[in-house]
Symmetry: C2
Subunit: 104 residues, 2 copies
């Protein structure tokens, strides 16, 4: 199983509308990716490792696919529409991590 994680870095002045992200943006992602997307998860950053330290990421979205090819085929035709929705909930530039799920 392949996990595509979209990490939104935390920083001074970062704007992130968590409700919009979980509800509206993820509904768009679901509609675009269809059955190829096997699961969606959202983490909301609360804290870092040291006392009082902010979370390194304000939010992280995770999408599951059977394979890298399945992700690429599902995402490519909708990339522009999905990425074009980002300014509606954040001014952060996300970091993308594609992983193999080893343990879950």
């Amino acid at each position: 199983m392949i996990k595509v994680s979209v990490l939104y870095p935390n920083a001074a002045g970062v704007r992130f509308d968590l409700d919009y992200y979980c509800d509206t943006h993820m509904a768009l992602v679901r509609e675009c990716l269809g059955a190829a997307c096997k699961g969606i998860a959202v983490d909301h950053g609360l804290a870092g490792g040291a006392p009082g330290e902010p979370a390194p990421f304000v939010a992280v979205g995770h999408l599951l696919f059977d394979s890298l090819e399945a992700f690429q085929q599902a995402f490519a035709p909708h990339a522009e529409r999905i990425m074009g929705d980002l300014p509606n909930f954040t001014n952060a530039t996300p970091v993308l991590q594609i992983s193999e799920v080893c343990l879950s």
Copy 2:
């Protein structure tokens, strides 16, 4: 639900023994944290967002807890033992992200 994510940054010269991490280290984590830890997952970084770009993180471990307090109480007495195992599988300094699971 609280997710504690331990992100191991990728970099030139990084060493990471994925088998040891998944098997030996996570067995130690399970033993130390006991029933407070509601779930364990491991992602192995494959790629970044751009073609040919390496994964930002060589691996990410996720631990689930009912609350921040449950994590802190379970982890504190074993922190030294768990952190002391890191040199056995990596030379990376992990980044810690504590999140609330909003969608799963």
